[in-house]
């Protein structure tokens, strides 16, 4: 290979990598970031009886990739659930998706690679819920209990809780819990830039091959 061609290919590859990074950086975004609790307000119980939920608005169709919850007082290896609901008259309605998260340590506990789709702009709910585990088949038992510390948080919307009774979720203003949600929204400009870079690399590669021939 001629040095000049090598240089050209290097530049194009770097440009391609940059365009890919630009595309991904532009589309990955934070949908919810409450901040980290400062403990100035009493925390809330999260277990198979006690759920907490917050409403949020999606400005367009979104994909939720990573959800983090700030929880303490659990045992490593225990689980909690993050659940995504449609809004139904101002309360969590139909379940869209739910995933178990393994509690690692006090603080932020994340789950990634969710790829949950919010089908359209609108109001949704995210909840922290307890989970059950069947160590003995047919005998589900609680799989951990946690505390969601509060104080100094900015919640994205109104809040609700469930106490495990027939009443389901009930509105309760003022509930706080640490929540981070990272996702992606399709951005045509970024995708076009990436495709253009791929096309350029292809053209240069074909021309180089034809010159060698």
């Amino acid at each position: 290979m001629y040095p000049r061609q090598n240089n050209m290919l290097r530049k194009l590859t770097v440009a391609l990598a940059a365009s890919v990074l630009a595309a991904s950086a532009a589309s990955a975004a934070t949908l919810i970031d409450t901040g980290t609790p400062d403990g100035s307000q009493a925390g809330f119980a999260v277990d198979v009886t006690d759920f907490v939920a917050v409403q949020f608005n999606a400005p367009s169709a979104w994909r939720l990739d990573d959800i983090g919850a700030y929880l303490v007082a659990g045992n490593p290896g225990d689980h909690f659930a993050v659940s995504l609901y449609r809004d139904a008259s101002g309360l969590p309605g139909d379940l869209i998706a739910s995933a178990q998260v393994s509690f690692v340590a006090d603080g932020w506990n994340h789950i990634s690679s969710l790829a949950w789709q919010l089908p359209a702009a609108g109001s949704y709910w995210l909840a922290l819920e307890g989970t059950m585990v069947e160590s003995v088949p047919g005998l589900p038992v609680p799989d951990g209990s946690f505390i969601a510390p509060a104080g100094g948080l900015t919640m994205p919307g109104t809040t609700a809780f469930s106490d495990g009774s027939y009443m389901g979720y009930q509105l309760q203003a003022g509930i706080q819990f640490g929540l981070e949600v990272i996702g992606a929204v399709p951005e045509p400009a970024s995708i076009s830039l990436m495709l253009l870079g791929v096309a350029l690399v292809g053209v240069v590669s074909v021309r180089a091959r034809s010159r060698r021939a």
Partner: protein, 393 residues
């Protein structure tokens, strides 16, 4: 040829990935060092309802027929149990006043059906039966219930709020199987209750009636649990400090590291009076200050923690600056702090004076003990943390 660039790029990717993995592994290793919990127990008291003066937010008009008949705050007590079980507590110490009782569980006026049905004896047994039914599921799903006698179980109000031997007998008849079924304990908790002392220890404190299964103790691992009857016949509002001192001494000599004592009446009455009003009058063991001091000296000597009820309210305090008194007497009974009192704050900030509350205690492998008090408001809001302390041993 793209190989040179591709190889370099690949090497960088591998290097970055290896770095990321190293960080992840370091984080995992750090998480594995978390101090594991070796035993969790919960404690609460006072779930009985009041037929005459139920809480202002739950007036008789809204009490269910069930609660009017069996005199329990079913809604609050059931919810407390739900969360205690969700917290995977192996033991539930119930600090007395599980029934309204407060009469004389003695002979009926006659043997007619009407007199038997209307008798205090029948009322005691009916109320005990309902409460036992409420806690039966806990016993079947991993939580052993340990009962503590309260004044409503052992005293008679018409007889001057004095403990009665008939009521002590009714206690044993209705609770005795729990105190202590070691085989069932092992099956439920997964470990043995050892050094079980449920016999009659009345002589230590010159008590005149059989105190077996009223004041008793046992060990679980290196934790010692002692239950005291705070209203023995002839010495109402007095804890058996003589027996307790001997009991804790024996436990310490065999290696116990944690001492937990459960009684109904507080050693130090918590004053919940609104600002500017006279303080709440003494209603616990402090009506007999000398005897109370003897009892509390034992608690302090062994760095024990005292869990109690009687006052239908939540409070945690260190009366003498060291040992904790954990008052968790709001298990469903009408709150002592009345609706609208200035002492009862409003909003979501825990309104601890009018909060159904309990404590869950986690004993960790390192020896640290976490006491976390939980509760929910009189309007049945979300479950919140009321207070957390860690005892280092």
């Amino acid at each position: 040829m793209l190989h040179p660039i591709g190889r370099n790029f690949g090497q960088r990717v591998i290097a970055i990935s290896a770095f990321a993995c190293a960080i992840t592994m370091a984080a995992s290793a750090e998480a594995a060092e978390v101090d594991p919990i070796v035993l969790t127990f919960s404690t609460v008291g006072d779930s009985r309802q009041d037929p005459v003066s139920p809480d202002g937010t739950t007036p008789l008009a809204t009490m269910s027929g069930q609660d009017k008949t069996w005199l329990q705050n079913t809604k609050a007590w059931t919810r407390i149990q739900r969360t205690i079980q969700a917290q995977k507590s192996s033991l539930l110490f119930f600090n007395g006043d599980m029934i309204m009782g407060y009469g004389l569980a003695g002979p009926t006026k006659s043997t007619s059906v009407a007199d038997v049905v209307a008798s205090d004896l029948m009322a005691f047994y009916r109320q005990y039966g309902f409460w036992r039914g409420m806690v039966a599921p806990a016993m079947e799903t991993g939580t052993y219930v340990v009962p503590v006698p309260g004044n409503h179980e052992v005293q008679s109000k018409p007889l001057g709020k004095k403990a009665q031997v008939e009521n002590e007998n009714a206690w044993r008849a209705n609770m005795g199987d729990l105190i202590l079924d070691t085989a069932r304990f092992k099956a439920i908790v997964g470990v043995d209750a050892t050094n079980v002392n449920v016999g009659n220890n009345a002589a230590f404190d010159s008590l005149g009636t059989d105190q077996s299964q009223l004041s008793y103790s046992f060990d679980v691992g290196d934790s010692h649990f002692a239950v005291v009857n705070t209203d023995p016949v002839g010495k109402d509002a007095t804890a058996p400090a003589g027996w307790l001192s001997s009991d804790l001494s024996s436990a310490k000599s065999r290696g116990a590291k944690h001492f937990f004592v459960f009684g109904h009446k507080p050693a130090y009455t918590y004053s919940y009076a609104p600002a500017g009003a006279p303080p709440t009058p003494a209603g616990g063991l402090d009506v007999n200050p000398g005897a109370r001091d003897n009892f509390w000296n034992v608690i302090e000597t062994y760095s024990a923690t005292y869990f109690c009820g009687h006052e239908h309210i939540f409070n945690m305090a260190q009366p003498k600056g060291s040992a904790w008194q954990v008052l968790v007497g709001a298990g469903g009974s009408p709150f002592d702090s009345k609706y609208g009192d200035a002492s009862a704050t409003s909003g979501l900030t825990p309104n601890t004076d009018r909060t159904y509350s309990w404590a869950t205690v986690a004993i960790r492998k390192s020896g640290k003990v976490d006491i976390t008090a939980y509760g929910f408001s009189d309007s049945f809001g979300p479950t919140q943390v009321l207070k957390q302390v860690t005892l280092a041993h």
